[in-house]
């Protein structure tokens, strides 16, 4: 198979090879024709991390590194463990003959340019989240994927985490009743600033700290919130109808242009709500999603999921023995209006794998088996547009109706498409 030839996304691949455990780990079982050479556009911190993850997938080699900041070449080569070819122009990397697939890990404002060029070069593309900085960027990327027919996976890695999938399954089965609210937060206590080499502050500040400037960044909502927004869109099976937002540059007044704290409330069809909070001055709550249903709750973190029952609902997600053990039903420690501090149920534990590794494995497997990734361009589009309009609500200081930007025709595509369930 020559992957530089057209790779169509066909249903034929869906039932194809299901790799066994050993095949997941060993390169010996990978046929020479199935080796995937990946070119990387954007070799900063995230790019380097994803290179490490890709290199844990058998039969993957990094054959090109592209960045406009030269120190990244030495860093990138250290991560690949070999003198990988380097490029300062992404078009030169895309012209190289020894690249089968492309990872785009550049600043958000450049995603559209780089992803579309990579798709047009005929390669499968792994594009970091958020999909694009603006609604227009998101539309262009989605259209390019459909126009070229190439495999595209957006970097929403938690989508592949088993505890996320299990939560979606239980929610779908009604195990926590009707989900009416999701509260998501990503609370940090740091400046979100990267150090700039001494003496080069003027030249390099915006390059190295692009996340702090509007030209390239979608701020906290894009860089952190996109995972949570994707979860809410998936769990609700819809995009929001509207967004209101608050926030500002209130603590880290260091010349940055994007808010250092932000709160957004998204309203979904059927009177459902996602309330999302991002702060950089306290990390007590960390990163988590709290999913509230009429019959119970789920708390998701980067490593696990914990289920809690609503005492008044007999259709509990928590088995009765656990509820009794934690005195939810009869114990004296629970009072109707007091927050619950006890333990819940964590059904998945022990052998969870790294979400980034799972996402990389999915990407490579989709290339080999001509399969559509779970986080395809449509999943990316719903996430990217939600982020972009949440940011717009803050920028314009008003309630944003999604229909204003998506038009009447968009309502049909607001529903996430049918997902294939192959893993």
């Amino acid at each position: 198979m020559d992957r530089r030839e057209f790779i169509g996304i066909t249903a034929a691949g869906l039932g194809a090879l299901s790799l066994g455990l050993q095949d997941c780990n060993s390169p010996h079982s990978v046929a020479p024709s199935d080796w995937v050479n990946v070119g990387v556009i954007g070799v900063g911190g995230r790019g380097q991390h994803m290179i490490r993850m890709l290199l844990r997938v058998p039969g993957v080699r990094i054959t090109g590194l592209c960045d406009i900041y030269e120190p990244r070449f030495a860093e990138g080569r250290k991560v690949t463990g070999e003198p990988t070819a380097v490029y300062t122009e992404y078009r030169k990397l895309l012209e190289a003959r020894d690249i089968d697939a492309v990872l785009v890990a550049t600043p958000l404002g450049l995603h559209a340019e780089h992803v579309i060029a990579a798709l047009d070069s005929g390669r499968p593309v792994y594009g970091e989240k958020s999909l694009g900085r603006t609604v227009e960027d998101c539309n262009c990327i989605r259209d390019a994927v459909r126009r070229t027919g190439r495999i595209f996976q957006v970097g929403l890695q938690y989508h592949y985490a088993p505890w996320y999938q299990e939560a979606l399954r239980r929610i779908g089965e009604g195990r926590i009743g009707k989900v009416t609210h999701i509260y998501a937060c990503w609370h940090r206590n740091n400046s979100w600033r990267r150090p700039v080499p001494r003496g080069q502050e003027t030249q390099l500040e915006r390059l190295l700290n692009w996340r702090l400037y509007r030209e390239w960044s979608g701020g906290l909502l894009a860089e952190l919130g996109s995972h949570q927004i994707n979860f809410a869109n998936t769990a609700f099976g819809a995009m929001p109808e509207s967004a209101i937002a608050s926030g500002g540059i209130d603590y880290w007044k260091d010349g940055r242009e994007i808010p250092d704290n932000m709160q957004v409330i998204f309203r979904y069809p059927g009177g459902r709500t996602l309330e999302a909070s991002y702060i950089t001055t306290n990390r007590l709550d960390g990163a988590q999603e709290r999913i509230f249903g009429t019959g119970g709750s789920v708390v998701l973190t980067h490593t696990d999921a914990t289920y809690f029952k609503e005492p008044s609902d007999p259709n509990s997600a928590v088995p009765p023995e656990i509820a009794i053990q934690h005195k939810l039903i009869t114990g004296p420690t629970y009072s109707a209006e007091q927050p619950y501090h006890g333990k819940g149920e964590s059904p998945i534990s022990g052998e969870a794998e790294d979400a980034d590794l799972l996402a990389c494995r999915e990407f490579i497997d989709c290339i080999r088996n001509k399969r559509r990734p779970k986080t395809d361009e449509q999943v990316g589009w719903t996430e990217g547009v939600t982020v972009a309009l949440g940011n717009r609500a803050l920028e314009e200081g008003r309630r944003i109706e999604f229909s204003e930007y998506l038009g009447a025709a968009a309502s049909a595509s607001q529903q996430p498409p049918e997902r294939n369930t192959q893993s």
Binding site: R56, G81, V196, E353, D354
Partner: protein, 367 residues
């Protein structure tokens, strides 16, 4: 063996003017610098089962904050890579699957494992990243040490041995030749994390010292008035300075019985197990107090990773065998501190001359 080593012996009395440092306590017997310029900023961070400390000389608060953030993020990344307690770590993935068949890993992890096995080979197995099952059977892993039953110990011995870890550089794979093998990078990963932190700070031109639990440390850049000097404290009296070492070109690591040990029937058992006979190393108290026993070893090496691994190996090997093994490593030196009937004794191998002269507070001698 080249006799450039120093061996000094004498009375283990504290000098009239011991250099006392207002240093925070650390398990490794090394006191990090405290009394330095006003511009020094410090941040501590709990990771890898120890307390990391970062000292740096940043231009302003914003740069200091940014430096702390990237360094602590990197240390956390490495914990999530090398920890055997996180199920999603790369080390856990290898431990789960490498006995089933070869597992491909990324170059960073592969290189760390290769370095570890290289130290194992050159020290005759005195350093061994497969010793984890044994550490667990003695309860040190859970910090609840105990005497294991003979049968338990025998079973654990079956699951130990660095030679059962097969690395294939061409494929970048890891294979366990024996089921039940488990890797534990506790004696090398902290040093590597220090190296990575220093590398990041060097790249932005910031002078810094990074320290993992006061046992592994390295520095970069010009440091204030007096250089990045750290004092090596006596294992029996932390207020007593054995000598001072200037960091910069070389990293430092200390291993000692102070970190974890317990006494049973008059014998002291340390968490530093000898992988070759699988018993905890006996320190110099109780029944064996008359014999000279290693209390602490400090190693200087080109990288903190190597210093970390070698300090464990040198502790296990002792001065005589350790010096011979150390000769295979370029630009590495070590200082052993032994207990004796009349105090402590310091023995150095290639220990820096100037620093050695400052051995004015301990028992010392020369061969």
């Amino acid at each position: 063996m080249q006799m450039d080593d120093a061996f000094r012996d004498g009375a283990g009395k504290r000098s009239a003017d011991p250099r006392r440092h207002e240093a925070f306590p650390g398990p490794g017997g090394v006191n990090a610098p405290v009394a330095v310029a006003d511009t020094l900023r410090a941040r501590s961070h709990r990771a890898m089962g120890t307390e990391f400390a970062v000292y740096l000389d940043a231009a302003d608060d914003a740069q200091a904050q940014a430096c702390f953030d990237i360094v602590l993020d990197e240390i956390d990344r490495l914990e999530l890579t090398f920890s055997r307690f996180h199920s999603s770590s790369e080390l856990s993935r290898l431990n789960r699957h490498a006995a089933e068949g070869p597992v491909v890993t990324d170059p960073e992890v592969f290189q760390l494992l290769a370095s570890a096995l290289d130290v194992s080979e050159k020290t005759g197995g005195a350093f061994d990243i497969t010793v984890g099952q044994l550490t667990r059977s003695w309860g040190f892993a859970e910090r609840q040490p105990r005497i294991p039953e003979a049968r338990e110990l025998a079973a654990a011995r079956e699951q130990v041995g660095w030679r059962n870890v097969k690395l294939d550089a061409a494929w970048r794979t890891v294979l366990f030749a024996r089921p039940g093998l488990q890797l534990d990078l506790g004696a090398i990963a902290k040093g590597y994390a220090v190296d990575r932190a220093i590398e990041m700070l060097r790249s932005v031109g910031v002078s810094a010292l990074v320290d993992a639990g006061s046992s592994s440390m390295a520095a970069t850049g010009e440091a204030f008035v007096s250089g990045w000097k750290v004092s090596i404290a006596s294992p029996v009296d932390r207020a007593l300075t054995i000598c001072e070492v200037e960091l910069g070109k070389r990293a430092l690591s200390t291993s000692g019985v102070r970190e974890q040990s317990f006494v049973h029937d008059g014998r002291t058992y340390s968490h530093l197990l000898d992988p070759r006979d699988t018993d905890p190393l006996d320190s110099a108290t109780g029944a064996q107090a008359t014999a000279r026993q290693v209390l602490q070893v400090t190693v200087l090496a080109p990288s903190s990773m190597l210093a970390d691994a070698l300090s464990t190996a040198m502790f296990v090997l002792g001065y005589e065998h350790g010096s011979a093994a150390l000769a295979q490593f370029t630009d590495c030196s070590a200082l052993w501190i032994y207990s004796g009937a009349d105090g402590i004794t310091c023995l150095g191998h290639r220990w820096p001359g100037d620093d050695f002269l400052s051995l004015n507070t301990a028992t010392h001698g020369q061969t």
